[in-house]
């Protein structure tokens, strides 16, 4: 427990309109501490002007996403020992493809607004195998499942930062939002109008990297593919003069 690693931490800094640059801090820290702990220590003991995003420190709020040695991580659950070794260097940068406020903080509220537009539910029923036995759900009646939980997606923006399509087309609504649409309870015309466009589900280039960095089991890439399947089947139905699926549901 008392073991300490000495690390060199390079932090990307940017205040106001100045050019981004790196500041280097040397830090003694336990390998079992998190990357966010390291950042908070730099702020507390070395440089009070360092800006970084954080709130819950246990992966439920999604505020502390950063690029750690070039890879998107939710820093509150990323242990130092997972990303470097004793004497190693950690390079911390803000997420890409979102507006930077300063240093390591990006503004996630544009993402929140998009999630609201596609009506991603922030709370939904608990599924089977999540601690609720199927017979319990059956007892309560599927429609009246008394177990609800907060959604998987914590709107952290890691998937948007890693996405190569988002990198070159800022208008692309991004993996989190498309996954949010796929999870929306009603895929109405309003949601379809956002998703079924060039900057929606068809912009994805199948790099699957969003699912690789997602810290919260959302699997955005897989959901984008399910969404494509849904939209394609609707188009095929329309072509043959059949009713679309969501009209039928109503």
């Amino acid at each position: 427990m008392s073991e300490k690693w000495s690390l060199h931490i390079e932090v990307q800094r940017q205040k106001g309109k100045e050019q981004p640059h790196f500041d280097r801090f040397d830090l003694e820290i336990s390998p079992e501490a998190t990357v966010l702990d390291a950042v908070e220590m730099i702020w507390a003991f070395k440089d009070r002007s360092l800006c970084f995003g954080h709130a819950c420190h246990h992966s439920t709020c999604g505020a502390c996403g950063m690029r750690v040695n070039g890879v998107e991580k939710l820093t509150c659950i990323t242990l130092i020992s997972e990303v470097t070794q004793n004497g190693g260097t950690l390079r911390l940068q803000p997420l890409r493809n979102l507006p930077v406020i300063s240093d390591l903080v990006v503004d996630l509220t544009p993402l929140y607004h998009r999630m609201a537009e596609v009506k991603h539910p922030s709370v939904h029923p608990v599924e089977e195998n999540e601690g609720v036995a199927s017979q319990q759900i059956a007892q309560a009646g599927k429609s009246n499942n008394p177990y609800t939980r907060l959604a998987d997606c914590i709107e952290c923006g890691l998937c948007i930062s890693v996405c190569p399509a988002a990198m070159t087309s800022p208008a692309y609504i991004g993996p989190a939002v498309l996954a949010g649409a796929q999870l929306a309870v009603v895929m109405d015309e309003h949601v379809c109008a956002i998703v079924d466009t060039q900057n929606g589900v068809w912009r994805c280039h199948s790099a699957y990297e969003c699912s690789e960095v997602c810290p919260s089991h959302v699997q955005p890439a897989q959901r984008i593919m399910q969404l494509r399947r849904h939209l394609l089947s609707q188009r095929i139905r329309r072509f043959f003069g059949l009713q679309s699926l969501h009209q039928r549901k109503q």
Binding site: K15, G16, H57, H58, T60, C61, D103
Partner: protein, 391 residues
């Protein structure tokens, strides 16, 4: 007529809720916060919307506050709540002993408690230890801390309140024995600025003593009392599981998303800007969690974190200090005008804390405006506008 101006220091639960309350009462509100929303104690809570059961025996004032606010918030912030309820479970003779007093106390505090068959409890929560001797349901719930604060902030912002995040208060502006504003520095640019107000509200929780000292008032003592919480990587229960006994270490397990979070410990510190997570406490939490939910033993740890409760100082220590909140008018405590401090309390009572604070501020400024936050519908947390909040 110009609106009365209020500056709130701190955008945690209390600060955001107070901004909402004062904006509704016609104030021109500015919230200054040195970091992002809810980056201190508020963000790092357990996420438990208390039924009040935990406090029913020893701290009935807190228990009553909790159940009242709990039932109110269910309707107001449904968007960031898991409303699955909670169970209090007894594991041994001493728990059963405590249960009798506890049930009576809950009745007195109007906390709806119902005993359920042990078999029923185990059917609901199959991962719960089969050793339970008794189980009671309570209306606990789980909340998302950042989103709860953002809900109040978004509503306040919609009603005209301004948020200035990453803006650190460096000093208070004093004129003729009264606080008239704050001097602050924008951490994103390094620029300094001054904000004037008819009333400054110190909503900095565990840091409230420091701000009070800036005003020269050392009478307010806040004892930052951290506790550790540990998150495990699987949703092992759907209800909040409470150990049915005196409040103690590691006696509450809260489900959240695909996790369960166990907490907590209690010790005192002086410095709260950085509190390390102690490995022995994490280990202790794991052992406590295994007692209630044995499957924790086989579950990967996802995170461990520390948060400092802002307990209002007295000679008592730790858990025996009441968990209720207090609002101080510094005119009364130290003869300083224009400054109000709100501290203590807990997440569940954020709205009530804001109401009390706004009442105090209104009384101070001779303003009559009723509190509307009990019924005023809140906006979605997703409506918070970062473009207006980052300076």
């Amino acid at each position: 007529m110009d609106k009365p101006k209020a500056v709130i220091i701190g955008a945690g639960f209390t600060g955001c809720a107070t901004a909402h309350d004062l904006a509704l009462r016609g104030f021109d509100v500015t919230v200054v916060e040195r970091g992002p929303i809810a980056n201190g104690t508020s963000g790092r809570t357990h996420g438990l919307l208390h039924s009040g059961g935990r406090y029913a025996v020893d701290d009935q004032e807190s228990a009553v506050e909790c159940i009242e606010e709990n039932l109110l918030l269910r309707g107001l912030v449904a968007e960031c709540l898991e409303q699955n309820g909670g169970l209090f479970v007894a594991l041994d003779e001493s728990d059963l002993e405590y249960a009798r007093r506890w049930v009576q106390s809950c009745e007195r505090c109007n906390i709806p408690v119902e005993q359920v068959d042990v078999k029923q409890a185990l059917a609901w929560e199959p991962n719960l230890t089969s050793k339970i001797l008794a189980a009671y349901t309570v209306p606990d719930a789980t909340f998302d801390p950042l989103r709860l604060a953002l809900t109040f902030a978004a509503t306040a912002q919609t009603n005209g309140a301004r948020f200035r995040l990453f803006t650190e208060v460096e000093g208070l502006i004093e004129r003729n024995g009264a606080i008239r504003g704050v001097r602050c520095q924008e951490r994103t640019t390094g620029k300094s600025s001054e904000l004037y107000a008819d009333c400054v509200i110190n909503a900095t929780g565990a840091w409230a003593g420091k701000i009070a000292q800036m005003a020269g008032d050392a009478t307010i003592v806040v004892k930052p009392t951290p506790g550790v919480m540990v998150a495990y990587d699987q949703r092992l229960c759907n209800r909040v599981i409470n150990r049915l006994n005196e409040p103690g270490d590691g006696d509450i397990i809260v489900p959240q998303r695909r996790m369960v979070v166990i907490g907590t410990t209690s010790f005192e510190v002086d410095e709260v800007d950085y509190i390390p997570v102690f490995e022995d406490q994490v280990q202790m939490m794991r052992e406590c969690a295994i007692q209630l939910i044995p499957a924790v033993a086989a579950t990967r740890q996802r995170g461990a974190f520390m948060a400092a409760r802002p307990l209002i100082g007295s000679s008592a220590s730790g858990r025996s200090i009441a968990r209720t909140f207090k609002c101080f008018d510094h005119q009364e405590t130290h003869g300083i005008g224009g400054l109000v401090t709100i501290t203590g309390g807990k997440a569940t009572t954020l709205r009530a804390m804001a109401e009390k604070t706004a009442d105090t501020v209104c009384a101070k400024l001779g303003i009559t405006a009723p509190c509307q936050t009990r019924e005023y519908p809140l906006r979605s947390y997703r409506e918070f506008r970062g473009s207006d909040a980052y300076q």
